[in-house]
Symmetry: C2
Subunit: 240 residues, 2 copies
């Protein structure tokens, strides 16, 4: 049976302008692979209301699960929660359960729960809160969309809260063979292998290093014995 599918939506001008290098995508990709969920598409859009709404609706429709990162803080450029609410046609306002979490947190830390911070308690009707053990302001799940923070420590903590609630498939296993030959010399062998092992994915990633060149051949699949067999045969075919 095919694994469940997922997409990710990264929201942030700072990434599209080149100021910040996104770290959340790579992290989520690794976690989903371990959990047996196939990440099929990632989109990065700017802090722009219609762009976010359109992307969320498209991804939510096309994939089993969607993860978003970014835009749920207290400042004026944090518009994700309102966009998600609109995408699902849900009402959004400060919600009591989220307000209580923030109230308790700020009482303890001595900060003021002002209007800006209260924005972080804006949660669409019908959404379930996602626990944030790092800085308390919750994410939320509505429909098949998990809305999470952009700060990597918080994003990772929220992924850890959400993943156990999702049904995964077989974890994707992979083995890599590193060969110091040109891609063009091994391409035919690889094409034959890919055809013979059509249940596996055979990828070839060239590199150039210190004047030498070669390729990492990666065989991926959910059955370890099949991946083993393909790699063994490949070593033999390439006379390694």
């Amino acid at each position: 049976m095919a694994n469940p599918t997922a997409a990710m939506l990264v929201i942030g001008d700072e990434i599209l302008s080149g100021r910040t290098r996104d770290a959340n995508m790579h992290y989520l990709a690794g976690e989903l692979t371990k959990h047996g969920i196939d990440l099929k598409e990632v989109r990065i859009v700017s802090d722009d209301h219609p762009a976010i709404v359109t992307a969320v609706q498209a991804l939510s429709k096309a994939y089993d699960t969607v993860f978003t990162s970014g835009g749920i803080g207290p400042t004026h450029d944090d518009i994700t929660a309102d966009c998600i609410a609109e995408a699902f046609g849900a009402r959004i306002d400060v919600r009591d359960d989220a307000r209580e979490i923030l109230k308790a947190h700020y009482a303890k830390t001595g900060f003021d729960l002002n209007a800006a911070r209260l924005r972080m308690a804006r949660i669409p009707d019908g959404a379930a809160l996602i626990d944030n053990p790092v800085s308390m302001a919750p994410g939320f799940t509505i429909g098949n969309v998990h809305v999470m923070a952009g700060v990597p420590q918080v994003f990772q903590a929220m992924v850890a809260s959400v993943l156990p609630t999702l049904t995964g498939g077989a974890p994707l296993l992979s083995q890599t063979l590193r060969v110091f030959r040109g891609e063009g010399d091994i391409a035919e062998t690889l094409a034959q292998l890919a055809e013979q092992y059509s249940d596996l994915s055979v990828g070839c990633y060239p590199f150039q290093k210190d004047g030498a060149f070669g390729a990492n051949i990666v065989v991926r699949g959910s059955e370890g014995t099949r991946v083993d067999a393909a790699i063994t045969q490949l070593s033999r075919d390439l006379k390694l």
Copy 2:
């Protein structure tokens, strides 16, 4: 006048599986910002024919320029050129000009220009070649889409070939103010600044470091004097 817009399409299972961390997006984002072209959206899709065709068509229609990275090598998983041809309804085959480039290169290096390597000379009708000074196999431009390699050194060389041919707008200038205060304490001041300087973009990016927390406030715009004025006023408003 608004700057030209751009989108990027990254093609590669290795990025979606978490095996490789994409470097090209961050590089392109920085180069486009310097050149006065606004990167508005990035999509990452797997080595899947319909997914690539659909994404290219959508981005080509929505933005002034599209850059793709990945999937133009000699192996069976390199399907980008054929997908782009399909997206534009163009015929694709080995083209003489591209074959000559490869022939000269492999004659010099002593490798065989076999069937696999010849795949890299498959160029859609009507496309213009993009120079590849690193490993010779060319990229190509068709319509408003620039098709480039995934290997970072080659990608960067191709960006350097393409960028001077594009009309840029005013480079996006930015200044950053680093403050050690909670986002929630400065949010109201920032919202007022963003409203007053509606021609600029005011972003707030929180961080936590060694127990202290704060935020980088980034003001972006194409007019240096306006960015200066906003940052000066912000320092005053925040009593820095």
